[in-house]
Amino acid sequence: MKKAKFYGAGVPGMEKLDLPGKLIVIEGTDGVGRSTHINLLHDWLEQIGKGVLVTGLTRSPLIGGGLQAAKESKYLGRNTMTLFYATDFADRLENEIIPALRAGFIVIADRYLYTLIARDTVRGANSGWLRELYGFALVPDAVFYLNIDIDNLVARVLRAGKLNYWEAGMDMGLADNLFDSFYIYQSMLLDEFEKMRKEFKFSTVSCQGSVRSVQTRLRKKIEKIFKTPKTT
């Protein structure tokens, strides 16, 4: 059985826990199709008899409400926002993710600290500080990064009619219209993800092709995790 492994000092009292479950992270920028693939993986894993828990960002019972209210306030500073998200992340990690892993579940995380780091880094936060801050986080068993280039991303999001304020990074004042802002902001995020690929050992999954072909690639990679359990 594998022991909990953290990026830094970890969570007090949980340093030596046995975690029989698997933490699988699906990363990728807004509109890349994460939810579609997570739903398909969820069904598949349950069909083959696995217990599955899906968790996302900003859904914690502790912070969820306060964070939403804070986000709508125009007076929230950058560090405050970063720390609010980190609190939310810690709450879900300790009260949702780790207990499920202890009980042997497959936990699928719809984004993880990498998205939070990317968003804050493009807004000027110190990248070293962010990495130290998230030292309490558990190292996942695998991170699948859904990779897409900016032009294909723009096309996807337009077709779905899903250009929105936050995903376009309108708070940053990059452009005076939603489309240009989205293009610039998402390009910056993609650059940040690109930089993190090696550092955090992402397994890259190309989003080229049909949903089915992407899903097949994902499942093949996930099957490998079950076959070769990490001993770390």
Partner: protein
């Protein structure tokens, strides 16, 4: 900006630290009165008081949802909000800011709860380094005596009940506060805390506080509202 480096704002930041019952709030209030009488513009901020964050902290405490890590992070979120809105603007304007508790409260209390010393220091790295930090150091018996006077019960997190140290709140409080005092003690040199013996009378303590503050006030060209 880093808490490890001197800031270059024209204003002055004084903070007071110490366990509950050390008399620090009384002392800071007396310092404020004096500075205002001297004609300085004085701003005041208290630990855990940001309007934006307070609600979440309150819910978390009431429902006992907080772990050592989230307790620590939510207080830092509160601090970040106050730093930006209450502390830094007056410092930029050449005024005086008094803070009742500062990052050192987290460095002692959160570590007493089990979080890593190194981690909590890096989390608060964005803080402004105070120009002077007073640490009111009572004996444990004094602190506990002052807190327990006129109280029928201790609050859950205040007594460190979340740590399972003891089923008896007073015993838990005693163990928890001892740990906090140990952390403060170890920080005196690291952060150049100005130690004030908190077993003295209120007047004696205040005399020392003013004596220590005076050279800093004289060496800075601070904004005054009255002359």
């Amino acid at each position: 900006m880093s808490i490890r480096e001197k800031h270059d704002y024209p204003g002055l930041l004084f903070v007071c630290e110490g366990v509950d019952g050390s008399g620090k709030s009384t002392q800071l209030n007396l310092l404020r009165t004096w500075l205002q009488q001297e004609g300085y513009d004085v701003f005041f901020t208290e630990w855990n008081s940001s309007q934006l964050v307070k609600k979440t902290t309150k819910i978390g405490k009431k429902k006992k949802l907080l772990t050592p890590t989230t307790f620590s992070l939510i207080h830092c979120t509160d601090f970040a909000d106050r730093l930006e809105h209450v502390i830094i603007p007056p410092l930029k304007a050449g005024m005086i800011v008094l803070a009742d508790r500062y990052a050192f409260t987290a460095f002692s209390r959160d570590v007493a709860r089990g979080v890593s010393r190194e981690w909590i220091r890096s989390v608060y790295d964005f803080a402004v380094r105070p120009d002077m930090a007073f640490y009111f150091r009572p004996t444990l018996e004094t602190a506990i005596g002052r807190i327990l006077v006129g109280r029928t019960s201790l609050k859950y997190y205040e007594a460190g009940m979340d740590l399972g140290l003891s089923h008896d709140p007073i015993e838990s409080f005693r163990i928890f506060q001892t740990r906090i005092l140990d952390e403060y003690h170890a920080m005196v040199g690291e952060w150049d805390l100005q130690v004030i013996d908190a077993d003295q009378s209120i007047e004696e303590m205040q005399t020392q506080v003013r004596e220590k503050a005076l050279p800093l006030l004289k060496s800075h060209n601070l904004r005054k509202s009255r002359r």
